[in-house]
């Protein structure tokens, strides 16, 4: 009974979503206030029914109702309850339901926090989001119904959740990532609504900006968690694989990065308007493309679920409709909203433009590498794969290119600035950073490491610009005293995010350059030394978990005779599926990780073992955390709050529609 109720709730949500997609849009066209006023209620209605469907599916999982196909395929009575719950989104059907739930969550958030916006804008934004919801609810109901039953052949027990997914990281990684992915539909909806109304001004940018920042922040956090999860759970200590599905989430992030910066220029100075709209459309389109890549099964990837081509076709058509429709609208309306604001070549606008160029080009090269195998295959030109060397060769130089400008950006002035002032601000401290970079690169390893020197130089340079800007803002109090008044949330968030970016670059380069890794055979009593660390295999044993049996190896790690850590890597065999899983043991510190993973047994009393020393690998995730949190902090800025009681703006909006 419960699954049927869930199915009905999902159908009701679908009907309400159609209402949301049609009625307020019609109302906006006819200036029918009553119809437009229905938008928030319809959005909340969709949310409620999707949430009910989601909750009922969760109940089916928690109650081990194996007559439901997804439960039978992805859960097991032995599974710990928390994983029974997260198993809901560890499969295609359930994760799609999560997608829709989060989309409707964003709709409700927009409906709640946009009361001060012109009614016509709210109606159009929610209506556009309703259209997206219609597409995904139809996708869920028609091709991937999560409530499908296995009657009368109900299995006695379920197939179990893939052991890779039985992990706390997986409980939060997909929801956070989806918050970001789906959140990009909000700036998209704002962009489309603005195009329809022909009203792309500073206030539009100010409405759209906090949503964009928050969505982009969640996307950053989701990507960070995915990288961290892959690092410890896939077992082999890599943190970024340029896997097509990683790219699928990374491309919207890159586009989103450009969008966040371009919106800043549009809000403050009214420039780049049509470009910002285009970026918003592309960022969300890339989210959809990512969904298509992941869900269609066209890719070889750890994220691909066994999928049927019908689903891929559905998303591809949906993607074509969204991209085609919005680009058509853009082509029809964008020229009328082009900006006529001047700025000099040496100004903050120009620096933001460089940011936009670099991040757009980065998106394109990543897109090219990701789609190249698919395109070649589609035209029967051979089965290719494009690996990390390609992505590293094109992506790293692009990031290195943007960093010199990053330090100048926060210090620069809008409209017109001088290079003399930039030099005056940054030349001396910049030389200091250069010296530090060279010294550190000599200290870090036996001989001079150019890459580390460059990374320290660039990261230090970025940090320098940020700190200088921070100081400039603090040290303007009366009588040379300090003041905190100018530290607005949006400034602090930007500072945090830029410092985070520097930390990511530093971590990525150092761990890539100075990583030490050894695969070898070890028996009890064997000793291996990696850098300053001495790994000794003390004993082998077995341990039973709730739904698995584990082989364990106990390692003692010493440095100068002092015991640093006892690490116990495991090899688990999950009883329901018989699947084998590597559970790495990690001693994590700010400056280095020690990482041990078991391969397979060799002979009687020995194992293949991978030992790794990974300096500064934590900086990657700490940096990404700073980026994500920084973006979230910006949304608390006062100027976004005050807009809500902005009545004249609302009247203006109606007038704009009328005209």
């Amino acid at each position: 009974m419960i699954p049927e109720l869930g199915h009905v709730a999902l159908i009701i949500a679908f009907v309400l979503a159609i209402g949301l997609a049609v009625v307020p849009m019609w109302g906006a066209a006819r200036r029918d206030v009553a119809a437009m006023n229905m938008a928030p209620s319809l959005a909340v209605g969709v949310t409620v029914f999707v949430a009910v469907a989601f909750a009922l599916l969760a109940v089916s999982f928690l109650q081990d109702d194996f007559s439901v196909a997804v439960v039978a395929a992805n859960s097991n009575s032995l599974l710990p309850p928390i994983f029974k719950f997260s198993a809901l989104w560890g499969n295609h059907e359930g994760s799609l339901l999560l997608w829709v739930l989060i989309l409707s969550g964003w709709m409700t958030a927009v409906a709640t926090f946009s009361r001060g916006l012109p009614l016509v804008m709210v109606a159009r934004v929610l209506s556009v989001m309703g259209m997206v919801a219609v597409g995904f609810l139809a996708f869920s109901l028609l091709t991937s119904n999560p409530f499908e039953r296995l009657l009368p052949n109900t299995p006695l027990d379920g197939n179990d959740l893939n052991p890779l997914l039985q992990d706390p990281g997986l409980i939060i990684h997909p929801p956070l990532l989806y918050m970001g992915y789906v959140g990009l539909s909000v700036p998209f909806a704002f962009a489309i609504a603005a195009l329809m109304g022909g009203r792309l001004d500073a206030s539009w940018a100010r409405w759209s900006r906090p949503w964009t920042n928050v969505a982009w922040g969640f996307l950053s956090l989701g990507i960070m968690l995915g990288s961290w999860w892959a690092y410890y759970e896939l077992g082999w200590g890599g943190w970024w694989f340029w896997d097509p599905v990683e790219n699928a989430s990374f491309m919207p992030w890159l586009m989103g990065t450009a969008l966040v910066h371009s919106l800043a220029a549009t809000e403050k100075r009214g420039v780049f308007r049509s470009w910002t709209v285009l970026l918003a459309i592309f960022a969300f389109s890339l989210s959809l493309l990512g969904t298509f890549l992941v869900r269609s099964g066209v890719l070889t990837s750890v994220h691909a679920f066994a999928a049927d081509p019908e689903r891929g076709l559905f998303i591809l058509i949906f993607l074509a409709l969204v991209v085609g429709g919005s680009l058509l609208l853009y082509a029809l309306r964008a020229p009328s909203v082009a900006s006529r604001v001047n700025y000099s070549g040496v100004s903050r606008e120009s620096l933001l433009m460089i940011n936009n160029l670099v991040f757009t080009v980065s998106t394109i090269v990543v897109l090219l590498g990701t789609l190249f195998p698919l395109i070649m295959d589609a035209f029967s030109l051979g089965k290719y794969s494009v690996g990390p060397p390609y992505f590293n060769a094109v992506f790293v130089p692009l990031m290195a290119l943007v960093m010199p400008f990053m330090a100048v950006g926060p210090l620069s002035r809008w409209r017109e600035d001088t290079t003399r002032r930039w030099l005056h601000e940054l030349l001396v401290p910049g030389l200091g950073v250069l010296v530090v970079a060279i010294v550190l690169a000599f200290l870090g390893s036996d001989d001079f490491n150019l890459w580390i020197a460059l990374a320290v130089l660039l990261a230090g340079w970025v940090a320098l610009g940020v700190v200088k800007d921070l100081w400039r803002r603090i040290a303007t109090g009366v009588d040379g005293g300090l003041t905190w008044r100018r530290l607005t949330p949006s400034f602090l968030g930007m500072t945090l995010a830029h410092l985070g970016f520097a930390a990511v670059v530093l971590g990525a380069v150092v761990v890539t350059q100075e990583n030490e890794e050894r695969d070898l055979r070890m028996a009890v009593g064997d000793v291996e030394t990696l850098g300053a660390y001495r790994f000794e295999l003390m004993s082998l044993g077995q341990q039973a978990g709730p739904n698995y049996l584990a082989d364990q190896a106990v390692f003692e790690v010493r440095r100068d005779q002092e015991l640093i850590a006892v690490l116990v890597p495991e090899k688990r065999r999950y009883s329901a599926s018989g699947q084998i899983m590597t559970e790495a043991a990690i001693d994590a510190r700010l400056w280095r990780d020690l990482y041990i993973a078991l391969g397979e047994p060799i002979g009687e009393q020995a194992w293949a073992v991978r030992l790794q020393y990974k300096p500064m690998v934590r900086w990657l995730w700490l940096g990404a955390l700073m980026i994500g949190l920084g973006a979230l902090v910006t949304a608390f800025d006062r100027r976004y709050r005050s807009q809500r009681s902005n009545v004249p703006a609302a009247q203006q909006g109606v007038a704009a529609v009328a005209g």
């Binding site: 750890v302 700025y343 070549g345 794969s385 390609y390 992505f391 070898l520 590597t582 397979e600 293949a608």
Partner: protein, 150 residues
Amino acid sequence: MHPVRKQRLILVSLMVVLSSAAIGLVAFALRDNINLFYPPADVVAGKAPTDRSIRLGGMVVEGSIERSETDLDTTFWVTDYEASVPVRFSGILPDLFAEGEGVVAEGTLDESGMLLATQVLAKHDENYMPPEVAAALEGKTAPQGQPVLP
């Protein structure tokens, strides 16, 4: 020149320079870093290049995995039920690597026709099959009993 035009000119030239640099980089990076996929039948027929890295995909032949007792060397045969190719790999194999399962190995062919793999990818869950492997096996069914080693 009109300041707006001048500004546009700078913008356009910047875009041209940056995108040509990017295209150059892409072309350069693609030249060496793409791998073609070959099923075992093509490799045995001599269709695969020997001077560069390729990807080989198929099923691991039952009973063909030989592990060294002293180090991490492993050899196994990969088949598409038409032909089989030996693969040598030194390192830690993925968890779901097993006889009778789908696998993709990346590496270069030596003179004897053995693939010296630098990376071995297995499927990541029970039901999933890498699309290349699925395509390579399409229309070919496993013969009764074990595939015979050449």
